[in-house]
């Protein structure tokens, strides 16, 4: 199973929403699709789901061109694009039945899907009265109810409260275990770091990075930690003298950000030394900023809006 963009281009008048995108994602993993507003993320996903037609190039899913053979290309794809609306007088059970019937799939998983997205209690209520968050949950249920091998998700946690966002991330993590390919756009870097295995980053319609989260971590990691002490630190210069520490900045008198060189081994040595020197450390937290570092470095203040 794979999703591939071959010189995929979408142009509106003189504006390129997407320019010669070449990207192939395959296997059972989750790929985060990142970029600022207007970078071309949603355009790409819409081209892969037959909502838009490419100006040139091809959007290919499992060997089928989406434009020429949409039924075959989308046969094993579940999609959530923007926040869709549904026919207002139908119920979630009926909405998911439509999807199953269109795809020729038994309806046995409908209730299970609704339970996963916490809409089971609402299964017989008309969707016209649902909130945006509930519609988003129902959209996710409709994307996964037929157990597709590929999921294309456009900012799946948009419009949700923090609890809902957490639940959706957990659902996506669970889906990964079922061996499916998830191609997901997001604005939220921590979300991508938490859920995804690989990241594709685009800006101004062009792909600027495609790599695994691990590699990005190695290449862009800021290697800094935030250390919290029981009592105020009087002289941070003493701490700066510890081996491998590059810089120390005070967040407050109890809390310092320590930048260091080296990997996890060095991080352990620094903590040990601090304790040996009598500092009363009450918390020691890694800042996983690698993706943010990469994002800032590659895109920076290049805002498309």
């Amino acid at each position: 199973m794979y999703v591939e963009a071959v010189n995929l281009t979408k142009k509106y008048a003189n504006f390129y929403a997407l320019r010669n995108l070449n990207l192939r994602v395959e296997g059972s993993k989750c790929i985060g699709y990142l970029g600022p507003n207007g970078a071309g993320k949603t355009t790409t996903l819409k081209l892969f789901t037959n909502l838009l037609r490419p100006t040139s190039g091809d959007a290919i899913i499992n060997g089928y061109d989406v434009k020429r053979e949409p039924k075959k290309a989308l046969g094993d794809v579940g999609a959530l694009i923007e926040t869709p609306n549904f026919y207002p007088y139908l119920t979630p059970m009926e909405i998911l039945s439509i999807v199953c019937e269109i795809r020729g799939v038994p309806k046995k998983d409908i209730k299970e899907s609704l339970k996963k997205v916490r809409l089971y209690e609402w299964r017989d209520k008309k969707v016209g009265k649902f909130s945006k968050g509930m519609l988003q949950r129902l959209s996710l249920a409709s994307a996964m109810v037929t157990n597709p091998s590929i999921l294309i998700l456009d900012e799946p946690t948009t419009g949700m409260d923090p609890q809902g966002m957490k639940e959706i991330r957990e659902i996506i993590k669970e889906l990964k275990k079922e061996g499916i390919l998830i191609f997901m756009s997001s604005h939220l870097l921590p979300e991508v770091t938490y859920v995804c295995d690989e990241v594709a980053m685009i800006n101004r319609g062009r792909l600027i990075l495609y790599d695994s989260i691990d590699n990005i971590g190695k290449e862009f990691s800021s290697q800094s930690v935030v250390v919290e002490f029981l009592s105020p630190v009087k002289d941070i210069r003493e701490i700066e003298k510890i081996d491998n520490i590059r810089a120390v900045t005070g967040i407050s008198s109890y809390k310092l950000r320590i930048s260091f060189s080296g990997g996890a081994e060095k991080q352990y040595e620094i903590l040990s030394t601090l304790i040996k020197q009598g500092y009363k450390v009450i918390s020691f937290q890694s800042e996983s900023l690698a993706l943010e570092e990469a994002y800032v470095k590659l895109i920076g203040g290049d805002n498309n809006e």
């Binding site: 819409k46 789901t49 037959n50 909502l51 838009l52 037609r53 949409p70 039924k71 075959k72 290309a73 989308l74 046969g75 094993d76 794809v77 999609a79 694009i81 923007e82 926040t83 869709p84 609306n85 549904f86 026919y87 207002p88 007088y89 139908l90 009926e94 909405i95 039945s97 439509i98 999807v99 019937e101 269109i102 795809r103 020729g104 799939v105 008309k126 959209s139 409709s142 037929t146 294309i152």
Partner: protein, 268 residues
């Protein structure tokens, strides 16, 4: 996964779109309007029309006069927002990414709208035919021809409305434009034709006159010149086959354009 046939997917869309109509009470509202108008007609015809001097066809012609209006109302009720809502209300984001051809969605919805409109139209004709039979003791074959022509008109008007619905994102805009066309523009075109002497063969409401004219004996002449007060007007009556031809033409053109628009229109 088994790939479902487009016909089967079309049936699925029809089924749930019709269910949406039933729940939205649109169908019941149109049926209520139909019943109220029928009751008014019953009272007015019984009170003011002297049925004794009318043939069965002349009697039911009173009923047939309203058919074109009812058909138009049904088309606006069920077709005005059918396709535009997929774009304007974003329901397309749910349906379009599925492995389904867009034309299956178009025609699935069309058949649901047709079924809903047919229920209202057949109720009206049922009352009209029943009343005619009760009052005149028989119903002429021409009444059934008129019914058949009104069904053809319904199919045509619905396809025409669907075509307009596929042009716009905003349901209110598509409904308003189609209503203005039916209730004003075509009427004005027909009136202009009377004064200019140019036959309005391109007007769908001109074609619809065959629904009433089929009940007249003899069938009215195609072209009639009337003179008086220093002016002359030309009255056109679409011959039966011309009326049918215009309706079929409208249907074909609307169906092809509507299907092409939904197939190629993007959901931006």
């Amino acid at each position: 996964m088994n790939e479902k046939s487009s016909a089967s997917q079309m049936f699925t869309i029809s089924k749930y779109w019709f269910l949406n109509y039933l729940r939205s009470k649109r169908l019941y509202v149109l049926l209520a309007i139909t019943v109220v108008i029928s009751l008014i007609f019953l009272v007015v015809i019984w009170k003011f029309v002297n049925a004794e001097y009318l043939t069965s066809n002349e009697y039911i012609e009173n009923w047939a006069m309203f058919v074109a209006f009812l058909v138009t109302l049904a088309a606006l009720f069920f077709g005005g927002d059918a396709i535009s809502s997929e774009y304007g209300k974003k329901t397309g984001y749910f349906l379009f990414p599925n492995p389904i051809k867009r034309w299956s969605i178009f025609w699935g919805k069309f058949f649901a709208s047709l079924l809903a409109s047919l229920i209202a139209l057949l109720l009206y004709w049922g009352i009209a035919l029943g009343d005619t039979y009760m009052v005149k003791g028989s119903v002429g074959i021409e009444a059934y021809y008129s019914l058949g022509l009104s069904l053809l008109y319904l199919v045509t008007i619905l396809a025409f409305t669907y075509m307009f619905s596929s042009f716009f994102r905003n349901a209110a805009v598509s409904i308003t434009i189609v209503a203005i066309l039916y209730f004003f523009v075509f009427g004005i075109v027909n009136s202009i034709a009377m004064f200019t002497g140019v036959e309005p063969w391109f007007s769908i409401t001109y074609a619809a006159s065959v629904i009433e004219n089929i009940l007249k004996n003899p069938y009215p002449p195609h072209i009639q010149q009337l003179h008086g007060n220093g002016m002359s007007i030309t009255v056109f009556n679409a011959p039966l086959y011309m009326g049918i031809g215009i309706m079929i033409g409208y249907f074909l053109v609307s169906a092809v354009i509507g299907t092409l628009v939904i197939t190629y229109r993007e959901l931006k």
